[in-house]
Symmetry: C2
Subunit: 344 residues, 2 copies
């Protein structure tokens, strides 16, 4: 495992070929996942270690990826905190009672992730046993801003108006909420590390709706606290979308690796982040729908922009889309390996 390409790249060490994994590499684009979903809900899979293990391993058997990522959901910590939710078909997550005013924050419950989310930790142990060192296992959690946005909006949002109105209108309540979330997430990730994961990714998927000054005021301190708590126990990846104007701030908040989306060329992004961090990205997931020549040429473009500099992990700019043909995912992983080997 110490020789894992993925872990080496996180530490910016030279590798034989560019490591690759995909956000949502386990999911609806795979027939075996869809088959399992016919019998079990998303939350059932997340909460049943055997099922979470099976789904985590599905892409490892089919796709030449250099890392597994725990199958789970960003929102899991919200329920034990007192924010129950469910997944409504076609609409994504829906919270029963979103946070509406600062007093709602004070009603949140303290959570001991080792108890409330023990099933995730059990899944990690089970997955590691099954993986037997073939590839490292990535654990993950949501960053405070992104979790707070779900807690306040009650689900997906297009403009994050409720989130920002709360943030601007009740800065104290906002910071209390994010402190609570940061404490739970830090604890949850520490528990994941103890349970045996090899790296963590913090998803601040929607933080790109903030400009640099707002990011610094409302998101950075809470995200930084999580990275500080994790320390240097395992490599950390810090990911968001639409972050072209706040890459420097994301880096300041923490993360050995900064994940970037397709909106900015990876070399431009890396320069803004600083070459003392690794980068992960950044193919547009839509390119995997086909046709494959364009997918390959864009993968080439990313690899040549990186130019063999140590510290690049190939990934998409966001998750694999459900309608993606599995063959394209397989071909892309192989291609990244062979093309990056040729470039060395």
């Amino acid at each position: 495992m110490v020789t894992s390409r993925f872990l080496k790249a996180c530490r910016r060490e030279p590798v034989d070929a560019t490591p690759v994994w995909f956000m949502r590499q386990a999911g609806r684009y795979m027939a075996e996942y869809r088959a399992l979903r016919e019998r079990h809900s998303l939350l059932e899979i997340c909460r049943t270690p055997d099922l979470a293990t099976e789904v985590t391993l599905q892409p490892i058997r089919r796709v030449e990826v250099d890392a597994a990522i725990l199958f789970s959901d960003l929102l899991l910590p919200l329920e034990p905190m007192g924010l129950p939710f469910d997944f409504v078909k076609g609409e994504g997550p829906q919270l029963e009672r979103p946070i509406d005013r600062p007093a709602d924050v004070d009603r949140l419950r303290d959570v001991e992730p080792r108890e409330a989310l023990a099933h995730v930790l059990d899944a990690i142990a089970l997955i590691q046993r099954e993986l037997a060192g073939r590839v490292p296992l990535i654990g993950f959690a949501g960053a405070p801003f992104t979790l707070a946005s779900y807690a306040i909006e009650g689900g997906h949002s297009s403009n994050f108006a409720r989130t920002k109105a709360f943030m601007y209108g009740h800065p104290d309540g906002w910071h209390r909420l994010c402190e609570r979330l940061a404490a739970v997430v830090a604890d949850y990730l520490a528990a994941q590390i103890e349970a045996g994961i090899d790296a963590v990714q913090l998803f601040d998927s929607w933080v790109g709706v903030l400009g640099p000054a707002d990011y610094r005021e409302f998101a950075l301190p809470h995200t930084r606290r999580i990275f500080e708590t994790i320390g240097r126990r395992v490599p950390t990846i810090h990911f968001g979308t639409g972050t072209a104007a706040i890459l420097h701030e994301l880096r300041e908040a923490g993360g050995d690796v900064i994940g970037v989306d397709w909106r900015i060329p990876i070399d431009v992004a890396w320069e803004r982040i600083g070459f003392d961090r690794a980068v992960q990205g950044n193919l547009d997931p839509t390119l995997l729908l086909g046709p494959t020549p364009r997918m390959f040429s864009q993968a080439d473009d990313i690899l040549s922009r990186v130019g063999g500099r140590p510290g690049h992990i190939f990934n998409l700019g966001h998750g694999i889309l459900p309608s993606t043909p599995v063959e394209h995912v397989q071909m892309l992983a192989q291609y990244v390996h062979s093309a990056s080997r040729r470039m060395r």
Copy 2:
């Protein structure tokens, strides 16, 4: 009108105070608009010159803005092209038969905007008569990428997967579609200019989902053609959201003024755009929900970043949200005028 602050700022000439107008300054946040909407649908208002005139003028009577903007909808040109749509309560526009394959593009009809959209041109004449030179009138249309995304997705989208799959999968069909849209839009804007508007804004609201290389390949040539067709007859504003990484490309496509959203500080944006263009923006619309001290301090921040350089039009980074108190909009416009006067 030649002395209009707004038109002077478009030409980067010095002004006595920073001109201000707001995207969606006519709309649901105003009680008089909501009253009208109880009796008329959005499309009825757009298609009835008297009603469009009334709604266009509503904010002029209440808010100290330096320009009126024609009340209309980006999608109007789609119906005569053979893409009928309606507004579904709470869900936004919904096309009856979105474009699904390249053959659908060839079935689109040629449109003579002077006939098919004559009601818009009638509204312009009526509005100008009512305005009687008090403030200039801005006309507008959607840019090819943004219109194509509605034509293909059939409505709002969160990831634009269908749009991009079409673009990557059928580049010829995509370019044919955008050529058709660009021709109609160029003609439509020319007709608006003939009908008497004083400036135009081209809305490429969703083009920020493209990186620079994709923007250059799939959007820029079509947008440029529109700006070239308009020429220098009236000042042109080119607006998009999430464009931090493609500002230079937007500028290259055209526009005397580049509109930017709140995700990037306006001075950083202006430097990337180049000081030989004017800029418009960029307060986060959520700040208008309150509390007002933060709204004012952010307005100050924008004005001090601009530092009195000629060629800044104050606006939001996107449209006014429906739940915005009208008093905040009034106070903000006054504040921009008085604060920018003090700074001079």
